[in-house]
Amino acid sequence: MLTKALQNPFVSTLAVALIVVALPLVVGSNFHIRLATMVYIFSIVVLGLNLLMGYAGQVSLGHAGFFILGAYSVALGPSQLGLNPWLSMAGGVALTSALAFVIGRPLLRLSGYHLAMATLAFGAIVYVFITNEVDLTGGPDGMQVQRANLSVLGLSHLMSWYWLAGGFLVLSMLILSNLLSSPAGRALRALHDSEVAAGVLGIDVARAKLMAFVISAALAALAGANLALLDGHITPAAGGILRSVELLTMAVVGGLGSLVGSVAGAAFLVLLPQFLTEFHDYEHAILGFLLVVIMVMLPLGIVPSLNAVMRRWLP
């Protein structure tokens, strides 16, 4: 009964919502609130990536590309077009989704390694473009982002983004939980097990994959916009190849096919460097090492492995 409840996506959404609400009552320091906000922001991208990889079974090494497009849209919208930052965020998410829709059709005909490399190439092209268009984006030094927050409600800049990122996270989890328990979500899961069998059962395979791809791109852009607005500054390094690898690691370490796993994976990778400050030089080496060890020892990821243990010991 308990284990069954833990696997219900709505229960995990509620649990995450409770954590978001309760955390500011427990921790007071700005540093910890900031870390929590980063966890929420990365959870949003990883949720989308998990929908694509864990449910639809398609690998992407290019989501840092969508992430950085969202981030630069809130930087460029106000400075180039004089748009309001909130409108820029909405516009960035919409444009990134449209881009994902256009490139998704040809890309998603590929599978496995080919899809991974094609998405990697896409992400790298976005990165090269943003790094080289110095007049528009400030090049490798990055650019300032016009401040936007909820100070009208009496919240500080940090607390506004804590609540916004937490709110977006809970909202995304709610939408994905709904999606996954709908026929469209069951179609996605069928795809993960066998594309051929899903096709034979009358599922429009190409359409289902494209839907997952566009939703994941939209969530990546939303998270990127959140990060840029929180930091007030954005550089292309926020969306390099290593970032795509990091996002993939979060999804896989937390556990593919588990919404709460995405949050756990994001929390693990955001908080890990805080415990490794003494080994700062070895940060990437440790990241790579953990990635290998977790993949070899716990190929299912943290949350599904814990679930399996609990299923054995709990009623």
């Binding site: 990889m53 690998v59 590929l110 190439a121 290593l242 070895y282 080496a285 790579g288 990635l291």
Partner: protein
């Protein structure tokens, strides 16, 4: 016209390195079905270890390069036996992530132990240049091209003429049948990882006098080597070599005639184009999937 031939020369020089990465990729892929994302790191390690040994430890070129090749080969074979083989029955995605993890680990260790600065190897052939009708060719560039061709031919001879090489071909062709005639696939695949690391390290140490190297050079090399393998066709013998040279030429012409800041984007665009329109590559056979 001089510019054109100058670009051809530089294109073939970098293309030779991409070809070596592509050859290493296809060797491992055909024997094990594993896509080794760490292939570019071998090139980086070959250059970095040789360079650091020569510049900061004052070791001569020959011992330094031998140490670099041996260390890289050991890393290649050990990473397969310790990290990849235990997970061999896992899904493709997991194996890909493991090799990405190895690549990040090697990068991280290199930056922590050998530093983040660019490393150069002093040119080890006379620094003279040839001038043929206005086209300038460095002798080191000729060495890179000759080295790549030599490695490719040696590998081909090894695969087709030697007993062990035929074992590799057997494992690539049919794993079950190879096991039945008494071939140990673990040893063969570990050997392939070792050979591909050796090919990469040699590429790194002949190219570094021209291109320099740093701890983060491997990822782009892996992507370009993969683009080369896909362009040539992963199932053909000459595919990776021709693919590498073509990617090098595209890149040189793109940088020379279109835009030098977008140099890295050309290989990526070719990769996307090939994957979208001709996933079997120029020389590959169209494969059909059994259901």
């Amino acid at each position: 016209m001089t510019t054109f031939f100058q670009l051809v020369v530089s294109g073939i020089t970098v293309g030779s390195i991409y070809a070596l990465v592509a050859i290493g990729f296809t060797l491992v892929y055909r024997a094990s079905g594993i896509f080794n994302f760490a292939q570019g790191e071998y090139v980086m390690l070959g250059g970095m270890i040789t360079g650091i040994l020569m510049t900061t430890c004052g070791v001569g070129f020959v011992p330094a390069s031998l140490v670099a090749i041996l260390v890289t080969v050991a890393i290649g074979a050990i990473s397969y036996l310790l990290a990849i083989r235990p997970a061999r029955s896992a899904a493709q995605v997991h194996l890909l992530i493991i090799t990405i993890g190895i690549s990040v680990l090697l990068r991280g260790l290199t930056s922590a132990l050998l530093g983040k600065d660019f490393v150069r190897i002093p040119t080890f052939v006379s620094p003279e240049t040839f001038n043929i009708g206005g086209v300038v060719i460095q002798s080191q560039a000729l060495l890179v091209i000759a080295g790549a061709m030599a490695m490719a031919s040696l590998l081909w001879l090894f695969l087709t003429r030697s007993f062990v090489g035929k074992g590799i071909t057997a494992v690539s062709a049919n794993l079950m049948a190879a096991k039945l005639v008494g071939i140990n696939p673990a040893a063969i695949v570990a050997l392939c990882f070792g050979i591909s690391a050796c090919i990469g390290a040699v590429g790194g140490l002949v190219a570094t006098p021209i291109t320099m190297t740093s701890y983060d050079a491997g990822t782009m090399l892996a992507i370009k080597g993969f683009s080369a393998a896909m362009l040539g066709g992963i199932s053909s013998a000459a595919g990776p070599l021709v693919g590498g040279l073509l990617i090098g030429l595209f890149e040189a012409f793109g940088a020379g005639y279109v835009s030098s800041t977008y140099k890295d984007a050309f290989a990526l665009l070719i990769l996307l184009g090939v994957l979208a329109f001709r996933p079997q590559g120029l020389f590959g056979n169209r494969s059909t999937q059994r259901v």
